[in-house]
Amino acid sequence: MAYNKPIPSPGTHTRPFWDGAKEGKLMLPRCKDCMKVHWYPRFICPFCESMNLEWIEASGEGTVHTYAVQHLAYGPWAEEAPYVTAYIDLAEGDRMLTVLRGVDASKPEEIQIGAKVKVEFDEASDDVNIPFWRVVEE
């Protein structure tokens, strides 16, 4: 089935992220001066104000920081409700939003904060792959 959810339009400085996603790689921005990874992508390092930034290929691993179950949803997402959304602490640092996979939205108490997750990609269009995170066994 064709992907029917909202698809982001790549910005001017985020192209390496979307190019990586197209190849199944999670690319993250990192500051070459303080060496910290940040998310979302910036023009300036949010930690040290350096503009000397690079992209690195990330491990695609992380943990669940917090989550919620969306019962009231809009547009094409309404068809999937209830579904779980989560903020993911990336192994390399900083945090990413996702719709969380590998969990049961009808049993939210069983989802663990701190659970290990891995990234996977959905082919949303010819140009855009979207990363999603899935809870994996320890």
């Binding site: 910005g11 992508p41 919620a68 019962h71 939210p108 904060i113």
Partner: protein
């Protein structure tokens, strides 16, 4: 910063639109603004065209044109529901600087009517996005919708960190509804006024419709129609009026993030910073506060904010409601109008906070607005805190009654 700016200005009047709530006949946001401003002018005796400063969430030029005001000072700060507390801060600074003597702060938002005729409150907080906002670009794919979809993440994390339960938060909704049943202007005043109005139990909160787990609908504020306006004035200007001044002893503002992706600790907001600034300016602290008006977009919002304002220890914000301190007859009344949860919330709730604080501290809560009296408390000091965006921006005021 402390000292001479404290009480450099006062709120000298507060009024609402002719009708607020879930209005049968749709209204525009502009109508709600104009009715409130006219009522404010009648209440204070200050002609609209004589007002020198105009503050609103993006509406100021349209309001000035519509009303024939030639302002000396224009502010359009629009950073979510706390914008109005910031407007008070900004107006106070402009008055203290000697640029203006009087300032109008106005709000009109047809949150309910907009479902039928379009509209809403202006200001485009968080509406960036597309190619200009990488934060939005990296969030928009993930099925978040209205405010509850994001705030639920904070409630879940808070429950994890502090061991609180949804039942703990449900007490906030129950007690806030108790206040609404004392206020005929509240949308949820009674079953006669609204099918879901009247008293509620903690169990009903727990068992109501799930919106974004762990939040049921009774953990969430309503979206109705509201218009309101307040007049800020210098001490000299205030002395010439018949209405009572409520003094702005302290004011502060801050923000933690814009996009929730950047919220480092989901259990804290920047209100501890805006509150520190306001308390310092006032030379007062949390223990001096006899009442609080706190933006309760969701039960989690007001619980966290109470902690940030120093009214409760970390992890214990909800106990203010659970043990009755915040309830009618309690030692620290909170959201005496019924809050955004049960009084009215049009999308941005900063203005009703100001109006209720003014009414309580000026002793006019039972005089009635548009014929409806409210519940008067004996409080002489009040901390007011607005929160905007996704627990993002905060504005805090410390208000004190006239001697």
């Amino acid at each position: 910063m402390t000292g001479e700016i404290s009480k450099a200005a006062a709120i000298v009047g507060a009024a609402e639109a002719n009708q607020i709530g879930f209005l049968e006949e749709p209204v525009t946001s502009l109508q709600l603004h104009i009715e409130a401003i006219k009522n404010l002018s009648v209440q204070t005796g200050v002609p609209i065209r004589s007002i020198e400063g105009v503050f609103s969430t993006g509406w100021s030029s349209e309001l000035c044109e519509h009303l024939g005001i030639q302002p000396k000072y224009i502010d359009t700060t629009a950073v979510g529901g706390c914008s109005f507390e910031m407007h008070v801060h900004h107006a106070m600074c402009a008055i203290h600087a000697g640029i203006i003597e009087s300032a109008l702060i106005s709000h009109g938002e047809n949150g309910f009517s907009a479902r039928r005729i379009g509209g809403r409150g202006g200001g485009n907080y968080g509406r960036g996005g597309g190619i200009s906002s990488p934060g939005m670009e990296m969030s928009m794919a993930y099925g978040l919708g209205g405010a509850p979809s994001n705030y639920a993440h904070a409630m879940r994390r808070y429950m994890h960190d502090f061991g609180t339960t949804t039942e703990d938060f449900a007490h906030i909704a129950k007690v806030t509804r108790d206040w609404a049943t004392l206020n005929p202007r509240a949308a949820m005043y009674s079953k006669e006024k609204h099918p879901f109005g009247g008293p509620i139990t903690v169990q009903q909160v727990e068992e109501s419709r799930m919106i974004a787990w762990p939040m049921t609908i009774l953990h969430c504020c309503m979206v109705a129609d509201h218009g309101g306006a307040v007049l800020i004035a210098s001490p000299k200007f205030a002395a010439g009026l018949d209405t009572k001044p409520v003094w702005i002893a302290g004011a502060g503002e801050s923000m933690g993030h814009s996009n929730m992706l950047e919220m480092e600790d989901f259990t804290k907001t920047s209100a501890h910073l805006s509150a520190d600034a306001a308390y310092t300016m006032a030379g007062l602290g949390p223990a001096d506060m006899e009442m609080a008006q706190i933006y309760d977009s969701f039960t989690i919002t007001v619980a966290i904010t109470a902690e940030m304002l120093g009214l409760a220890p970390r992890g214990e914000g909800h106990t203010l409601w659970k043990d009755g301190r915040a309830a009618p007859g309690g030692k620290l009344p909170i959201n005496t109008n019924g809050g955004g949860l049960s009084f009215n919330h049009s999308g941005m709730y900063g203005m009703p906070l100001l109006i209720e604080a003014y009414r309580q501290l000026s002793g006019t809560a039972e005089d009635g607005v548009n014929g409806d009296a409210g519940k008067q408390t004996s409080a002489r000091t009040c901390v007011v805190n607005g929160t905007g965006g996704s627990l993002s921006t905060t504005g805090t005021l410390v208000l004190v009654a006239d001697d």
